[in-house]
Symmetry: C2
Subunit: 289 residues, 2 copies
């Protein structure tokens, strides 16, 4: 997906909000914001929005001198999610359709992204379950994904944030006995899951952990490692989680499924869904892979 003009104010807002989470140093913030503004002015609109996020978070890491400014936020997200996981599991196992319920919790986990702007401690299971159960999902798309999981021997799940990765365990458990590869980022960017989060979440005991080989949110194929690209190409099924994966793979040249919440109007228009909706969407890559 290309970048829209509408994304530009959002880049600056997100940079400010993300920065506010990791420092109270006004001079440092101003220095970062000045660089973000300059980088936004130069940004090529044919690139996808996560490429701007990548640039912003490189600036934040450089200026703060901290290679992982969101480490603490990620740790809190994982801890909160682990606390909720044990309560969520019986709801999946006891559901009429456990696979569909696992998908729901996996998409619900995307709420942990709000770690950046809200208080993790306030997140309780009841509010999560409420969201999880009342949301409309595309039943046909869920059935198509169910069928694809049944037929696949190797499944690549493209992960999103810390915290969310914990809930993804419920989905990955329903993908077994296929061989599941779970992709995290090659190095820290915002609150995206890395190999550390794969360990803390316990995901590494269910799936083989692979990484994109880079620090872009989503999956920027042009920057991914050869190893990752081989997995991406050869997996029988790819499931891509979160908005950044949609933004970077909406024109990908292979079949895959997107699982995401629609959090912004630009992506809503691209997907033809209102903001706030939950998406299970099959993407047809044209059979070139």
């Amino acid at each position: 997906m290309k970048t829209y003009l509408e994304c530009i104010p959002c880049f600056v807002r997100q940079a400010y909000d993300a920065l506010r989470q990791v420092t109270g140093d006004e001079e440092l913030m101003h220095r970062v914001l000045r660089r973000v503004l300059a980088a936004s002015a130069e940004f090529r609109m044919d690139l996808s929005p996560p490429e701007m996020a990548q640039a912003i978070h490189r600036i934040i890491r450089e200026e703060t001198g901290d290679p992982d400014p969101y480490a603490e936020i990620k740790a809190r997200s994982n801890a909160a999610a682990l606390r909720l996981l044990e309560e969520a599991r019986p709801l999946v196992e006891g559901a009429t359709d456990p696979f569909a319920m696992a998908i729901r919790f996996s998409i619900a986990g995307n709420i942990m992204d709000f770690a950046l702007t809200s208080n993790m401690d306030e997140l309780d299971l009841s509010s999560l379950v409420e969201r999880t159960i009342r949301k409309t999902l595309d039943d046909a798309a869920v059935d198509a994904l169910r069928q694809a999981v049944r037929e696949a021997r190797t499944i690549l799940v493209l992960g999103d944030n810390a915290g969310e990765i914990v809930f993804d365990r419920l989905l990955v458990e329903r993908m077994l006995p296929a061989k599941v590869l779970y992709a995290v980022k090659g190095s820290p960017v915002i609150n995206d899951a890395t190999r550390d989060d794969a360990r803390v979440s316990g995901m590494d005991r269910l799936a083989e952990i692979v990484d994109t080989g880079n620090d872009a949110p989503g999956t920027l194929l042009a920057q991914c490692s050869a190893t990752f690209l081989e997995h991406f190409k050869t997996a029988d099924l790819v499931v891509a989680k979160g908005q950044a994966n949609y933004e970077t793979l909406s024109e990908a040249d292979r079949d895959l499924f997107f699982l995401t919440q629609v959090k912004c109007p630009v992506i809503g228009r691209d997907l033809n869904k209102p903001v706030g909706s939950w998406v299970v969407q099959y993407h047809r890559g044209g059979g070139h892979v």
Copy 2:
């Protein structure tokens, strides 16, 4: 008031929103946004936010080649306000405290500022009256203003937006028989009222219209004409309307009254009022004038 880091994302957002109102030309918009981003990066934080708005709107006027891009929006705001004025007047005249009610409508008129982001036609008197009547005002400050009006022979009202200027008539009518000067901008900036709006609104039949002599929102004394500064210095009473006047005059060296809605958290903190509240505030200038 100085500019806070929090204002920076808002500058970019406001530029985008304002631009969207006057053009659908994506290339033009991108050109303007790039210049706004660069200007925001260079902006001196010891200046007040309206100085950034002045820069942004100079860029918009330059790039669109239109000296008054919001002319149509201002015309619609004035027309909508004139339609509501005749319904509002009996409510002022029939009120227990007509002066306080006139102040309420004058502050309510600040809602016309939403012209930039909403549909004027949807604004009806009932919703305006509802807001107008239920808001809490500082009664002591209203009484202080009432007393100041009674004692003043010359009153300078610093206007804000088109549309709003129509409702200000109700207040100016309650200031007579003092000699009232009503200040508009020296030339167009956003939807701020100019001499044209003073005529269309009928304000010119109640008050002597003066202008700031420049194109800054609010009242940037450093840029105002000598004529304006003389009025500002010698008026027995100054009433400053809207946020931009607060931002530019919050450290002014003369006594005045602010009448405004609190529309942003930065100004809310400065005034120690929640966003959404309505303010009648006496400002003491230290007696140096």
